[in-house]
Point group: C2
C-alpha cells in the first residue's frame, strides 16, 4: 500500500528530532512557567522593545494570529504590556514588563543549558554540517510548497 518505507523518510527523522527538542525545552522551561513559544517571544521582545505583533510574528516564524494568542497569554500573566501607538493608531506597541524580564532571566539559563548540551554532542564541523543540511531542507521545502501542483 505505502510506496515508501517509513524509515527511509527523512520527514520522520526530522519530526522526531524536533519533537524531542521541543519536549526537552518545554520540560526545562516549565519550572520557570514559560512555554517555548512564550520564551521565544519574550527573547525577541527583550531585544526589540515596542516591536509590533506582526513583526514579532515574523521574527518567531509564526502567523500573526498565533503570536496574538501567545501575547494574550503573556499579557494575562503580566509579563508583557501592549499600548496603542502614538501616530499609527492601528498598531499596538508591545513591551516586556519588569516582571517579564525577571521571568525571562530565570528561564534563559534553563533553555541555554539544553542548547549547550545539545551542541556539545557534536564537533564544530558536525554542527556546521547539520545546520547546512537543515538549511537545504528549508530551501527546497519552501520552494516546493509554493510550486504549482502537478495534478490540480
Amino acid at each position: 500500500m505505502t510506496e515508501l518505507p517509513v524509515s527511509e523518510r527523512l520527514g520522520s527523522h526530522l519530526k522526531r528530532a524536533e519533537q524531542a527538542l521541543s519536549a526537552a525545552k518545554n520540560a526545562a522551561l516549565k519550572q520557570a512557567g514559560l512555554t517555548v513559544s512564550q520564551y521565544a517571544a519574550l527573547m525577541h521582545l527583550s531585544a526589540n522593545p515596542g516591536i509590533s505583533a506582526a513583526a514579532l510574528a515574523r521574527a518567531c516564524a509564526v502567523t500573526p494570529p498565533t503570536m496574538n494568542t501567545v501575547l494574550k497569554n503573556l499579557q494575562e500573566h503580566g509579563l508583557v504590556e501592549r499600548t496603542p501607538h502614538e501616530w499609527h493608531r492601528n498598531v499596538l506597541e508591545t513591551r516586556i514588563t519588569e516582571k517579564g524580564s525577571r521571568v525571562l532571566a530565570a528561564a534563559d539559563p534553563r533553555a541555554v543549558r539544553v542548547e549547550r548540551g545539545l551542541a556539545a554532542e557534536f564537533t564544530p564541523e558536525e554542527r556546521e554540517t547539520l545546520v547546512a543540511l537543515l538549511g537545504r531542507c528549508v530551501t527546497f521545502l519552501d520552494a516546493f510548497r509554493t510550486a504549482p501542483d502537478p495534478e490540480s
Copy 2:
C-alpha cells in the same frame, strides 16, 4: 540579556526545517483531505489492521489523547472504524475502512512526492549523515529530558 545568539541555536534551525516540512506536506495532502497526522495514522493502520489506539499512538510517536482526537476526526469522516475487542473488553480495535483506503491511496503519491523531492536534494552520503546527526539529537534530548534537574 540573552546568553546565546539565536542563530547559533541548533534548535531554531531544527524547528525551521520541521516547520517547512510540515507545511509542505500539509499543502500536498490538503487536496486529498488529510492532515499529516491523519495520513500517518492511516498508513500505520493500513499496515496493522485492528491495532489498538495506544499502540498506534506509540507507532506515530504521539500521546494517546492526541491519537484519540486524530482518530475521532478520521472516524467522523468515515475513514476509520472502531469496534470493541472480543475478549479484551476495554480495548477498541481500529481498522481502516474501504473509503479510508481509497483516500490513503489518493494521498500517498502526494506525500511521497514531497519525500522523494527532498531526498533528491541530497547525495546518499548526505542523507545518511543527516539521519545519523538527527538520531544523535534525539538520543541526547530524550536522555536530557529524563535527567534530573540541576536546580529543582
